[in-house]
Structure formats: C-alpha cells, structure tokens
C-alpha cells in the first residue's frame, strides 16, 4: 500500500504569516488530494493535483506536486483564523478513488 507522510505534525503560526505543509509518498502518485478538516466535522476538498510539476491556487492557498510525483506541498499566504484546522493529503494509488491519507497537520493561527 501507499505510505503518506505529512510534516509537520502540527504548527502554530501568527496571523498574517505564511506556512507550508509537506506530503511525501513512498510511491509515485496517481493523484494527490488536499482536504481540510475542522474538529468534529467532515472533510472539505481543497484541490487535486495530477501532473508532475502541477501547481494550483485557490484564494490564499497554493498546492504543488513535484516533477517526480512523490511529494506535494501546501502553502498558505498571510494566514487568517479561518485557516485553522487539520490539513490532510490523500493519494489515489490506482485511479479508482480509493484514497489513502496522511496523518494530517494541525494548524493553529494565533492573533
């Protein structure tokens, strides 16, 4: 099976500062998904990357997939309290949507 390692496990960032979360796979990724989870709630889809070197942005969140398709990063610019939560990366190993997830990165945004 595919192993996904996320780093850091958690981070505390001051409002207005930038932050980066990394997701590394033990195998080549067919598709890499980023989700956000708030405590006690379901997962909210952020974006999906499929091609090596691909980069996508939505509002202040940018995700990249490296050329070898084994590592992805999620970058938040000028963090806000609304960015607090758990960020999870998920990998589609065979294109059938059977996602395997990393353990998540907990983000805390302080005033």
């Amino acid at each position: 099976s595919q192993e996904l390692e996320q780093s850091p496990q958690s981070l505390i960032v001051q409002e207005g500062k930038n932050l980066t979360i990394n997701c590394t796979s033990s195998k080549t990724l067919y598709g890499l998904y980023w989700y956000k989870q708030k405590y006690g709630e379901g997962l909210i889809f952020l974006m999906m990357l499929q091609k090596g070197g691909e980069e996508k942005s939505h509002e202040k969140i940018t995700a990249k997939l490296d050329e070898k398709k084994q590592q992805s990063s999620l970058h938040i610019t000028a963090s806000q309290p609304s960015h607090a939560g758990i960020y999870l990366c998920g990998a589609d190993g065979d294109g059938w949507g059977k996602l395997q997830f990393g353990a998540g990165t907990q983000v805390v945004v302080t005033p």
Binding site: G31, Y33, Y35, G95
Partner: protein
Amino acid sequence: NAGVTQTPKFRILKIGQSMTLQCTQDMNHNYMYWYRQDPGMGLKLIYYSVGAGITDKGEVPNGYNVSRSTTEDFPLRLELAAPSQTSVYFCASSYFAGGPYNEQFFGPGTRLTVL
C-alpha cells in the same frame, strides 16, 4: 442538496453488539466510500462501491459489512463490536472514480465508542 448525510452522529456500543451506520447522498454519485479515522491518524478505507449492487473491500474491511441496493444509500454494518472499532466513521461519495474531477464529498462523520 443535502450532500452526504450520516446517522447517527454519536453512538456508544457494548462489546458484542451490532449496529448499522447509515449513509445517504443526493447527488446521484455512483462511487461511495467508507473510511475510519482513529485519533491522530489519517483516514483508512473500509469498503467502497462503484454502483448499486457492487461493493469491494478496502484496506481495513475486517469486522464490517456493506450493501448497496440503491444509488443513494450505502450502509455500513458492524457485527460483534470490539473496542478496536472505536473510531470516527466517514462516508464519502464522488461522481467519478479518479482523475482531476474526482472530488470526494464527505459526510460529517459518526463518532463510535465501543466499551
């Protein structure tokens, strides 16, 4: 659209009891999934379905059963509950299986404790 709904939200079971976790989606999605999330861990796939009448095992299927008689519903059955099944269970659905349009929509989860 309600999206993906799950019931119940919380449940406490005694060891050996059985229960069914309900999942319904109103988006006419063919693909549906059940995941479990243990504390501090990522989600693990239990079972999935590619359409009514078709289901298959995921990464951690032991102790669970599923059925899919309609497009909308995908119940998860726990037989003989064990403490190891204490977890948060998420149901998800998607229109496509993979590719750039495979956004999986998740329900709010069912928090299950087995004592």
